[in-house]
Symmetry: C2
Subunit: 404 residues, 2 copies
């Protein structure tokens, strides 16, 4: 139909390209005997259900109708202060509540970033591979991608420099997930963080730093986010309550110290949906206000996921055929498996019959040029199912290779 | 800064043009002794606070973690069924749950419609005057507007026909608010509804029908929405829970029988924020499921607003100088005052000193070419304050005219 916008047509073409496998895969996961490493769901049994129920009652008692009325676009002041204080406490640099914009999950943050920065044909710089949801959000703005090489310690600053020297047109921003990246589970090393900031500062390239998993560290110490470095190039930071409280509340946040960019983001948010849920924000804040309980709950999530990561890594070592490599992330929800000479999109067909699914790695490469990766989620399955699922996956690889 | 997208720059220019007066006005309303007819807030004292608190508890007891997890982009099935059934019951045509997309308030519905239909430079057809929030949502897509004349019975089908005959480029859709329009309070008459549908069908023009106030009828019978007519041209219908439950929950809906448009809208919603709040949807549905209580509550809201509309109309008749005209809407939240030979933007400066504010009409005209209108909200002030505020407004007009 000719009435459909070019942006919507473009988004549909790219979505078909990138996500049709995933949609098919997610349908399969609704069968009860299928073990899914495919989605990106937190463990629902760890949601603080009772504490949230209590927070709902307290908000209604204390605020009544004020918790249900329209509210300001930037977010309720209590939430903005809580976020600024938590970042300040974690990273020893002062973050201002005025820099915070509340959004409906990080996905909306990415969409607003796209709306404010991107015109059709613009370039965005991505890690290779990169987070699929970000690619989908930017696709809506008819964007093209430049990719930077990565290794075990994340994005390579030298590769970034080479890409920026040659880029034409010059890109609008670098998007990256520095902690326990989706999809690889890798973390940008401490030494590289300042280098990445300096390269971007040198070229005047804004950074969009997406940090959904930073609080879910299993071992080692927190590394400072890129936004904690002084830089002349603007940095937009995304955090979320989805992994440390519950995704169904749709509470996430942008931290945007740059006044001009923030002003445009606020205006874009106003046009997009006026403001995020007043009630959901008050309930989140009421729940998070009890700092000790909140921190204890985040630790419980991290410890549970650490055990699941451990079981998955051990099972991979036990059940994978020779030559298969995998990451052992220090946090987050995903690890990455490389199966040399195997097209994992084909492998998924076989593994689905064996009742185990994952996301084929090709979907995370903007150029769709690497076929031997798999993203495995370890947050949403029990330790027992992780072991059974990895064994099934090993079997499927052997069937694929015709050795079973 | 050159990194800002053309769309964001355009949105900012138009927002400055259209909304800076309003932002200033809303700041003033935070002073406690100011009577505001300016905002568009429902009466918070009518929010079903206790029933919502009970719904929160019941949802948590019954569903637990499932109410807090990620959910599907289209919305939870229970909400989609509830909306389809309510429309079917009200209008005697069958609406399908599959046509429904849940969004975060009508504003997000308008934004998604913009994303799916509009490219830079495209035309949208609007009533003159028209709803400011829609203009702001469409502005983000660098849109231009064609306007159709209106009278006491709403949009004039003959004027629409003339506009479409001459339009170049041909517009992407007609946007209208058929019931108790924002800003005028006028309702598109029953006789004209089918005519508007037929004109659009003849020209193949999609219709975007925004119906936030339809359930708040004070007198007379419901008129069928445009979407209840059979038509070869697609119709997208927007409804919301903001006026019949509470805006802070951010629950609204699109009804999109056309498969191709709906598919694009779902994809745009997925890119925009994955899905609306799972918990908020379950709480809304739990509350709404008790149909008798829900209907009784909607009647209470309508009766309260009807009394306030009555007091405002009587006060206008009593306190306005000769020559001032005003509408007497049969529902909704706004009425429209015409003050011949008065620039109401100037008048607002004077009335602010008299501690009463409103939205100057010029902001609702896409061409910004009519200066003598005022939009008055009657849902958010008490009957006593409405009377006092209108008296102050009459005084301000006399001051403006130099007769006081």
């Amino acid at each position: 139909m000719s009435t459909i916008s070019r942006a919507a047509q473009f988004a549909q073409r790219t979505a078909h390209l990138r996500a049709s496998t995933i949609r098919e895969m997610l349908k399969v996961t609704q069968q009860p005997d299928v073990i899914s490493f495919g989605g990106g769901l937190p463990a629902p049994e760890l949601f603080p259900t009772e504490a949230i129920a209590r927070a709902c009652s307290r908000v209604m008692e204390r605020l009544g109708p004020a918790a249900l009325q329209y509210s300001v676009t930037e977010g309720i002041p209590e939430m903005r202060v809580w976020i600024a204080e938590r970042l300040t406490r974690r990273f020893g640099r002062i973050f201002e509540a005025e820099s915070v914009q509340i959004v409906n999950g990080s996905q909306q943050g990415l969409d607003l970033v796209g709306k404010v920065f991107l015109d059709p044909g613009d370039h965005v710089v991505l890690e290779d591979p990169s987070y699929l949801g970000a690619i989908q959000a930017f696709d809506a703005y008819q964007t093209r991608y430049l990719t930077v090489d990565t290794d075990e310690d994340g994005l390579l600053p030298d590769s970034l420099e080479r890409v920026l020297e040659r880029a034409d047109p010059f890109p609008k921003f670098l998007y990256l997930v520095p902690n326990f990246q989706n999809p690889t589970g890798r973390t940008l090393s401490g030494r590289r963080r300042e280098k990445v900031v300096r390269v971007c500062e040198h070229f005047g390239l804004p950074i969009v730093e997406d940090d959904p998993y930073g609080e879910l560290r299993f071992e080692g110490s927190d590394l400072p986010p890129l936004i904690s470095y002084e830089s002349a190039a603007p940095i937009v930071y995304l955090g979320t309550g989805s992994k440390i409280m519950a995704p169904g509340m749709r509470i996430a946040w942008l931290v945007i110290p740059d006044d001009e960019i923030r002003e445009k983001i606020v205006l874009a948010k106003q046009g997009a949906d006026l403001h995020s849920g007043t009630f959901a924000q008050y309930v989140f804040h009421e729940y998070a206000m009890d700092g000790d309980a909140f921190d204890a709950h985040v630790r419980t999530i991290a410890q549970t996921y650490a055990r699941r990561r451990g079981v998955m890594a051990e099972s991979l070592a036990e059940f994978m055929p020779e030559g298969v490599r995998f990451t052992r992330p220090s946090g987050g929800m995903f690890l990455w498996v490389t199966v040399p000479e195997v097209d994992t999109t084909e492998l998924l067909r076989i593994s689905t019959e064996s009742k185990v699914v994952f996301v084929p790695g090709v979907n995370f490469y903007p150029g769709r040029n690497v076929n031997d990766g798999m993203r495995l989620n370890f947050s949403n399955a029990s330790e027992k199912n992780i072991r059974v699922g990895v064994e099934r996956l090993g079997h499927a690889i052997r069937v694929y290779k015709g050795v079973s």
